[in-house]
């Protein structure tokens, strides 16, 4: 095994040129928006501030740099065949249910914690219980252990909810939302 192979093992999966093509537009757009907003920022000249200390100076330069790198990414992705790839794989949401579910459940949990008056330990216990039940369901069903799996999830959720609330509120004196 040579060094490049060794380094390659650490490398992440390669990304399609098409993904780079579309992301380059985001960077170009962001860079241009930053530059435009920076140019429109107050230069505070009425306070005798030097033009070199204007608040928009650095973000403006950063905007130019990001837009420029976006253009290089765009050119590179086109050269790599971003426009030649015509066949599109249809997105099957069911294949990504694990990500969609964990993301949605976590977002709902965080929003309930921030915005509702429900006790923290209860919301946390419910979140953890649902999370564990859903992600362990297939394995538990295969072993005919669904009721046991639910019991484990409930106990785990309750313990974690109560313990985290106790540690933060009683030991660290943080008033939880």
């Amino acid at each position: 095994m040579d060094d490049s192979q060794a380094t390659g093992l650490a490398a992440e999966e390669s990304v399609s040129p098409r993904a780079d093509f579309w992301s380059s537009f985001i960077w170009i757009g962001l860079g241009i928006a930053m530059l435009w907003m920076s140019l429109n920022m107050d230069r505070l000249e009425r306070f005798q501030a030097s033009i070199y200390t204007a608040p928009g100076l650095v973000p403006g330069l950063l905007g130019i740099a990001i837009a420029l790198m976006g253009v290089i990414l765009l050119v590179r992705s086109v050269n790599a065949g971003a426009l030649r790839q015509r066949e599109r794989k249809p997105l099957v949401l069911a294949q990504h249910w694990r990500l969609i579910f964990s993301l949605s459940l976590s977002l709902v949990y965080a929003l309930i914690v921030v915005a509702s008056a429900l006790p923290f330990w209860l919301v946390t216990a419910v979140y953890i219980t649902i999370f564990v039940i859903v992600f362990q369901y297939a394995e538990r069903r295969a072993k005919a252990q669904v009721p046991r799996g639910i019991a484990v999830a409930v106990v785990h959720g309750l313990l974690a909810g109560v313990l985290i609330q106790y540690v933060f509120e009683e030991l660290f004196l943080v008033r939880l939302p």
Binding site: L9, E12, Y52, T53, P55, I66, R98, S102, V174, P177
Partner: protein
């Protein structure tokens, strides 16, 4: 020299209370478990522990964070050896020979090599931490706005260049980090930038919630998106390190320790690059090249020594320049600021004993990993088999509560969520996260230094290129950029060959 030794002895004595030793051992264990569990990284561990140690005295809190950091980098080797899955990115190089040894029924010996390599690596790094920090601190006193500007640019550029597989994407991530740092009130006139009238944005994006999002929430989602794997753990022999392995490969240990420490000092690069570089250097110098990747003791020793030597190395620029050498060191820097410690060029003037306190903390961490390396193998194997579905929701709750706990702002939970989702998307598009984090840390320094420098020189750019340290940093930035342009790289190669021709003839 003797002042340093006396300072170090004093620091060890000050940490020698039962309570402090308990903190050190507990934190090393937590770090080890976090590092050993695939999907939980050292950065996430240190970030979560920062939120859990807010109410502790500064020295105790930092001791816990450093022990967690060292423990996590060491812990990653466990899953690399036993499961062929790096517990942290730093342990990826250890998979090659560690798992090959495990398949030969020598997992215990591999763990012993990892333990000895990690401890010796930490000690080599500690030695240079104690040696270089006062020297670099002295040099850092010569830094002005021009030098700090180039240092910030260099940090982002070199981190973008070395931490991912695509330098362009690394630089984009770094510059996005610099942009994120510019959100909120700027440091000169308290002028609101990119806040869109949102009051909470005026305070800027806090580093810890952003880091917890990028390295915590994104990791939770990343782990949960894939089907759980069935882990098979090979039988293992004794985990007690062999003195023969250490004596036989002493050159590899010293070389890897030096490489790891040096890479640690380079801003934002981190332990994974240190491990791979040490591994590659060991292979080049080895008489047993063919064994590498097939269960080479030397290869595993090099990787483990290199990544752990990087930890004290990464703390050197934190203390002297307030610039992190790695992503977990960025969290450490934020934690120091939260606890009222002001790292930077004046640290040897204002708080000279603190440097030796940090060295003593590293020593306690290395003792922790030695104890657990010898004793807790069975427990760690059991922990490795705990289903991810039980751990990940608890980690997410800690991410949410930890982000909130720092300033009791619900807004920080939203920051964590946004950074988690964006971090996941960017990682899947192959954008490395270390430059992004470094950009957030260095953004304020870059902003103030450029504007202050231009103001001092009245718009004249000469001091940015004319002062010796600024010029060296500028050249490093330029060379790093040019090395990634094929035409420029070819020309530089030809130029170097032309320059070296007379020497080759001689």
């Amino acid at each position: 020299m003797f002042d340093g030794l006396i300072g170090f002895a004093h620091s060890i004595w000050s940490f020698s209370s039962p309570e402090t030793i308990l903190y050190a051992l507990g934190a090393s264990l937590v770090g080890l478990i976090i590092g050993a569990l695939p999907g939980l990284t050292a950065t996430m561990g240190v970030a979560l522990m920062t939120t859990l140690t807010l109410k502790l005295p500064p020295n105790d809190a930092l001791l816990i964070l450093i022990c967690t950091y060292v423990g996590a980098i060491y812990g990653g080797s466990r899953s690399a050896i036993l499961l062929n899955i790096p517990g942290t990115p730093a342990s990826a190089a250890s998979c090659l020979d560690g798992y090959a040894l495990a398949k030969q029924g020598l997992a215990g010996r591999a763990m012993g090599i990892a333990t000895s390599g990690s401890i010796l690596g930490t000690w080599i790094g500690m030695f240079f931490l104690a040696l270089f920090t006062p020297m670099l601190g002295e040099m850092a006193l010569k830094f002005g706005a021009y030098e700090f500007f180039w240092l910030a640019v260099f940090g982002v550029v070199i981190s973008g260049n070395l931490t991912g597989t695509d330098p362009l994407k690394g630089w984009i991530a770094g510059f996005i980090g610099l942009f994120i740092a510019s959100i909120g009130q700027e440091g000169m006139y308290a002028y609101d930038r990119f806040t869109f009238g949102v009051h909470d944005l005026s305070g800027g994006i806090a580093l810890i919630p952003a880091l917890v999002g990028v390295f915590g929430f994104a990791e939770v989602l990343n782990v949960m998106k894939d089907k759980p794997q069935k882990f098979i753990i090979n039988a293992y022999d004794t985990v007690i390190p062999r003195i023969k392995d250490v004596v036989q490969y002493w050159r590899t240990i010293i070389r890897s320790g030096l490489i790891g420490t040096f890479i640690g000092i380079v801003p934002g690069v981190g332990e994974d690059v240190a491990a791979w570089s040490s591994y590659a250097a060991a292979r080049r110098a080895s008489k047993e090249k063919a064994k590498f990747g097939k269960g080479s003791v030397e290869g595993l020793m090099a990787a483990e020594t290199g990544d752990n030597a990087c930890v004290p190395g990464a703390v050197i620029p934190v203390l002297t320049l307030a610039v992190p050498g790695s992503a977990p060191a960025a969290v450490l820097l934020a934690a120091m600021l939260i606890h009222g410690v002001r790292p930077g060029p004046l640290i040897m003037v204002e708080n000279p004993t603190f440097v030796y306190d940090v060295v003593a903390m590293m020593l306690f961490a290395s003792i922790g990993i030695l104890i657990y390396g010898l004793t807790l193998t069975k427990l760690l194997v059991k922990i490795l088999l705990v289903p991810r579905a039980l751990i990940m929701p608890v980690i997410f709750v800690l991410c949410a509560v930890g982000s909130y706990a720092i300033a009791s702002r619900p807004f920080d939970i939203l920051v964590m969520l946004v950074f988690g989702v964006v971090g996941l998307i960017l990682r899947n598009l192959n954008y490395p996260m270390a430059p992004l984090v470094l950009g957030i840390v260095l953004g304020d320094l870059l902003d103030k230094s450029l504007r202050r420098g231009l103001n001092l020189s009245d718009g004249d750019l000469t001091p940015f290129f004319g002062r010796p340290i600024a010029f060296v940093l500028f050249m490093l930035v330029l060379l790093t950029l040019l090395m990634n342009i094929p035409v420029a790289r070819k020309l530089m190669g030809q130029g170097t060959a032309l320059l070296l021709r007379p020497f080759r003839r001689a």
